[in-house]
């Protein structure tokens, strides 16, 4: 696969988006309704509220918490949360000795069925570059000051585990 030259001087991204949609629509390969459906799903139906429901259940249901930590994929499946970017879910607990933080340094992989599409800060090169090297400082800058005796584990989701 060849690398691409810089595409200087092209029309803006919004215009190119419109152009691509027009080309694919003319070929009968996409239609506005199908695009709207996918967009609406991630704007309205799937988002961090899914993950929040899972965590809240774990707070009040010790058996569920155990299942969640043992087999995250099956446990979140009890809520019907599955699909692309959720093939294998690993759940790790924070406590007063351990704080976990997740990143995808290579693109911006994210557990879509549980949290929706990644927020801007997760996709920010500043986060992708620095969280693996100076997580305590980055978390502090983001508003989370952790005590010095709390261990930080950073998870770089470089394969298909989320």
């Amino acid at each position: 696969m060849t690398a691409q030259p810089h595409s200087g001087g092209r029309a803006s991204a919004p215009i190119r988006t419109e152009a691509l949609e027009a080309l694919l629509t003319e070929k009968g390969l996409v239609n506005a309704g199908a695009l709207d459906g996918l967009i609406n799903r991630f704007v309205n139906d799937v988002g961090p509220m899914n993950g929040a429901r899972v965590v809240a259940r774990a707070w009040v249901d010790a058996d569920f918490r155990e299942r969640l930590l043992d087999d995250g994929t099956a446990a979140v499946g009890e809520f019907g949360f599955s699909g692309p970017q959720g093939e294998h879910i690993v759940v790790v607990p924070n406590d007063d000795k351990q704080h976990n933080v997740v990143v995808c340094t290579l693109c911006s992989c994210y557990p879509w069925p549980l949290l929706g599409l990644p927020p801007d800060w997760y996709k920010d090169p500043a986060y992708r570059s620095r969280i693996v090297r100076e997580p305590r400082l980055v978390l502090s800058e983001m508003g989370l000051d952790l005590e010095d005796d709390i261990n930080i584990t950073v998870w770089d989701s470089s394969a298909e585990n989320r």
């Binding site: 696969m1 690398a3 691409q4 030259p5 810089h6 595409s7 200087g8 092209r10 029309a11 991204a13 919004p14 190119r16 988006t17 419109e18 152009a19 691509l20 949609e21 080309l23 694919l24 070929k27 390969l29 996409v30 695009l35 996918l38 967009i39 991630f42 704007v43 988002g47 692309p84 093939e87 294998h88 690993v90 340094t105 290579l106 693109c107 990644p118 927020p119 801007d120 800060w121 996709k123 090169p125 500043a126 570059s129 620095r130 693996v132 090297r133 100076e134 997580p135 305590r136 400082l137 800058e141 261990n151 930080i152 584990t153 950073v154 770089d156 470089s158 394969a159 298909e160 585990n161």
Partner: protein, 220 residues
């Protein structure tokens, strides 16, 4: 490939910005670029790994220029052109026509959809191969410099860590991104000490990363 996408450990990107009232899509075009990006894999007869590789193949200025969904748009276009679904230059020509600059639009695609065999949906596979590594093993991330797609960041290569978990086997992205074959392999979570990765003055932390079996070698 070693490129702009492999950001782990880079300096110079500043502080992380959090937008408190962020919308899922900041502009309408971003939602449509996302949707077409997601559909482009099926329409082009490719796969998720090829899409990720398309992101990496963009010129670094294009990778950054229009943000995350700008990358998705450009990668969708790249896969659709590669596979002959649309001709090269068709998006640019149509965009110019939309802007009122009358240009001829190319009509003959030159690419073709890839021919390769998939043994299932998604990326996870059940395989019979024996695990070469076990939890607790000390392993080295190989010092690979593959020119094509792979999923081993530069910052772990050559370093020694400890296997902390085995994960479901998955297709090797290095193979599927290039439509060679499905090389399903075991995947392991490997833990590295921050001081091994970033020097003795580094912040104390542990870095867990998922590595495919062929990325790893035993440390005696």
């Amino acid at each position: 490939m070693d490129g702009i996408h492999d950001m782990g450990g880079q300096d110079g990107w500043g502080t992380v910005t959090i937008e408190p009232d962020e919308q899922v899509f900041a502009s309408e075009w971003e939602g449509r670029a996302f949707a077409m990006g997601a559909m482009s894999m099926g329409l082009s007869g490719t796969n998720l790994d090829a899409f990720r590789h398309a992101l990496e193949r963009l010129h670094p200025l294009d990778y950054l220029g229009d943000g995350y969904y700008g990358r998705w748009l450009a990668s969708a276009e790249l896969l659709l052109v590669d596979s002959g679904v649309i001709p090269e230059g068709a998006v640019d020509a149509r965009a110019q026509n939309m802007l009122g600059n009358e240009v001829l639009e190319p009509v003959e695609p030159s690419g073709a959809k890839p021919e390769y065999e998939r043994n299932g949906n998604g990326s996870l596979r059940a395989i019979d191969a024996v695990h070469r590594f076990a939890v607790g093993d000390r392993v080295r991330a190989k010092d690979l410099h593959r020119r094509g797609h792979h999923r081993m960041p530069a910052y772990v290569r050559g370093h020694v860590g400890t296997v902390t978990a085995t994960r479901p086997a998955a297709v090797l992205p290095d193979s599927t991104a290039h439509f060679i074959r499905e090389d399903a392999q075991h995947v392991y979570t490997v833990a590295f000490a921050s001081t091994d990765l970033w020097g003795s003055d580094a912040e104390s932390s542990t870095l867990n990363i998922d590595l495919f079996e062929s990325y790893m070698e035993a440390v005696s």
